[in-house]
């Protein structure tokens, strides 16, 4: 892999980090605005037109606040954990094809790297929560790990489905194999399982068990403040983008769309457009589920993942093996 200046610019600006951070802010705004709408209110209004820069204001306000580090906490992890935590979804997004059918960086086996990123995000979250040494954080980390151990298997199984269907283990390869027929048509169950597992990964209702504010205060984020909190919140939104992008890539054909044009610029625009639409669609799907449901208990969530979603994902995998064969 050669790091040319153009590639570096692409990684940092578009369609890399800056673009996805921008998407993270936009997604949070959309989420808040839409939640407000279905609840009969208006949502953010004063920060920018229609409150569109509300998440930005939140982020910068937090980053300019004093940071309190609890005395009992592990200072080293508290200091270096958040950048690592932030890096995980940011690194993963580089492997997602956006402006073309192949990603900025690709590798024959980058699906495995996605597995690693997904686990790493949760691991970092639990490490951060544990390092902050609050009692609520400790309870939350316990819940986080338990929840992780239950949604991980169905999630990974459902991610293997597109790989089996396409015979490739790289995201770009999976996207390329979806021209004309998106995998969601062959693997609707796999898609559904992935979305539900994504809800759990993102700690959104009904699986916001590790951050349930009415039970354990701020969950594993209770002890964070200032800059750390700002980055942790941003990372959560970036994970939201990451998981939406991943499901758009794995099941909805990524930047593929019905109309193709020749010409490099037009192709970039169209691909980006298709990709963004798909990403927003998945984000809305996750969002709609999250708004309409009550939180379940940890034992109920575990039961759901182990006894219903894992067998479903296995069946889907079997079907995919037969189809791909």
């Amino acid at each position: 892999m050669n790091l040319t200046p153009l590639l570096v610019a692409e990684i940092l600006l578009f369609p890399g980090l800056t673009f996805f951070v921008f998407m993270a802010f936009i997604l949070e705004w959309l989420e808040r605005k839409t939640a407000a709408r279905v609840q009969g209110r208006r949502g953010p209004v004063v920060a920018g037109p229609f409150g569109i820069v509300q998440p930005v204001a939140d982020f910068f306000k937090l980053s300019m606040k004093e940071e309190i580090v609890p005395e009992e906490s592990d200072k080293f992890i508290m200091r270096w954990g958040p950048p690592l935590y932030f890096a995980a979804p940011a690194a993963g997004l580089v492997f997602v094809p956006v402006i073309a059918l192949s990603a900025l960086i690709q590798n024959q086996f980058d699906l495995f790297f996605m597995f690693f990123i997904l686990s790493f995000t949760t691991l970092m979250a639990s490490l951060l929560g544990y390092a902050s040494a609050g009692r609520y954080s400790t309870v939350a980390v316990g819940r986080l790990v338990l929840q992780y151990s239950s949604y991980e298997i169905p999630m990974l199984l459902s991610m293997i489905v597109p790989a089996v269907l396409s015979g490739k283990l790289s995201l770009s390869g999976i996207v390329a194999a979806q021209s004309g027929h998106w995998f969601v048509l062959f693997a609707p169950v796999g898609f559904a399982v992935f979305i539900i597992a994504a809800l759990a990964e993102l700690e959104k209702p009904p699986f916001d068990i590790p951050s349930a504010s009415t039970e354990i205060v701020g969950g594993w984020m209770t002890e964070f403040s200032g800059n750390t909190l700002a980055y942790v919140k941003l990372t959560k939104n970036l994970s939201y983008v990451f998981l939406s992008a991943l499901s758009a890539t794995l099941f909805l054909g990524g930047p593929q769309g019905p109309i193709f044009v020749s010409g490099a610029m037009a192709a970039v625009v169209l691909h980006t457009f298709y990709f963004t639409v798909k990403l927003l669609f998945v984000a809305f799907l996750i969002f709609a589920i999250r708004t309409a449901l009550a939180r379940v208990k940890i034992d109920q969530a575990t039961r759901l993942f182990w006894t219903i979603l894992t067998p479903l994902a296995l069946v889907q995998l079997g079907v995919a093996v037969i189809l791909g064969w």
């Binding site: 009969g40 953010p44 409150g51 204001a57 939140d58 306000k61 606040k65």
Partner: protein, 153 residues
Amino acid sequence: MSQAADSFSGRFRRWARKRSIWVFHVNAASCNGCDIEILAALTPRYDAERFGVELVPSPRHADVLLVTGTVNAQMKDRLRDVYEQIPEPKHVVAIGACALGGGVMKGCYNVGHGIDKVIPVDLYIPGCPPRPEALLFGIIKLVTGEPPDRREE
């Protein structure tokens, strides 16, 4: 830092603070009247989220501490603890007649007359209880009326 950059960052900082107000609420021996009005201010009719107001679960995340109720002996230390846990810059809003001066509870043996004897208060919102609109008015006054920024002092 140059003068221009400083004024830009200062302006930006004020802009961000004005538009993102995360509140934490402590009921220091109140009758719930003010508390349900605070909640009501967040619900669709009044929707404080329009102004970037968000109710956060932990004082570590908060910018503004809303205190209702006449603080009693049992809550006094709790209130001070919570206040100290809030990162600077922070503001305290006292809500309701009890929090301002004891209100109708003045004769009771277990109440303090006003929370400003326990923690410094930046804004007072009187009323028993104040309407949600009065709370919105107060919050906006707090952020736009440039209350003392204790960190810079």
